[in-house]
Symmetry: C2
Subunit: 156 residues, 2 copies
Amino acid sequence: MKLAYLAKIPQAQAALRATGERVTEPRVAVLATLLSSDHAMSHLDVAAMVAKHHTIDRVTVYRVLDWLVGVSIAHRIAGDDRVWRFMLNPQASAQGAGKKTAHHAPSHAHAHFTCNTCGQTFCLDKVQPKMNVKLPTGFRTTEVDLKIRGLCAECK
Amino acid sequence: MKLAYLAKIPQAQAALRATGERVTEPRVAVLATLLSSDHAMSHLDVAAMVAKHHTIDRVTVYRVLDWLVGVSIAHRIAGDDRVWRFMLNPQASAQGAGKKTAHHAPSHAHAHFTCNTCGQTFCLDKVQPKMNVKLPTGFRTTEVDLKIRGLCAECK
DNA sequence: AACCTTTTTGCGACTCAATTGCATCTACGA
DNA sequence: TCGTAGATGCAATTGAGTCGCAAAAAGGTT
Ligand SMILES: [Mn+2]
Ligand SMILES: [Mn+2]
Ligand SMILES: [Zn+2]
Ligand SMILES: [Zn+2]
């Protein structure tokens, strides 16, 4: 919880400018929101936060979120409640974020933790799922997702 | 693909009787369907298969599927398309399947593989995600989910 | 600064998996 | 055979996410 939306706006603008793509109010607002959170946020979470300072359509929030994933600034995490949650990629603010990639960021190889009690989802950037899994013959891996459920530090 | 729905009906009935719960036509039909599949099936997959032999409401199929998860005969797998897929637990036919558990079957500790091309989801019962993951202080694990995406043997 | 072209946004309608409420039916123990 | 807890059918509803299109920027150019 590093609640500091307003303070994150300049950083958001800089990161967006670095992509070479258009810097718009909805993009700044959504990115600043993600920058202010230490855990993954659903579309609804983001929209609610953004609504405190702007009037932005929910469809636009959906599209901005998808766009942020496309330009490798954020990644999306599937929840057990059929809701996507979004979080910044590890070094999103520092690096210039490469061009659009098909899916996840290439550097996105960390685990996710969801607390059974508070429902919050975190990225465990330290936990590299170095799976030396033996797949059946003929199977080829392109991506690995590790999801851990349990109790977070707050809720234990 | 071991397509043999009718042949699985006695086995389904036996497994259901073993739970001590009520043995109904929808339950037999849905379980026989799952028994006849080597890969995870969506609600729609199951309903379509069942419809060839019975007239069962789609809501009932939803409820039976949930019930099968509850009594630890099957487990559900979240897809990237926001659709649940269901598959029998490893030894569902042999064991007497314990009482209702809160979530996944306790013995459910295997990985899932989804093919990017054909979309089929398989359970990799051989792949035990023996994660020696280091969680942040205070975090406690209750469940680990490993999802692998790639190309299956058929599609490669 | 006015202009042009390309994106992006707002809004309404829509999709579709899954859920809910409720009346009716049924599996199965007594 | 009966009684009843539990299961089913049906219609309505929820809710995340998507689509089409016209109006509104963003940002480069003159
Ligand atoms: Mn992550
Ligand atoms: Mn499985
Ligand atoms: Zn928690
Ligand atoms: Zn395949």
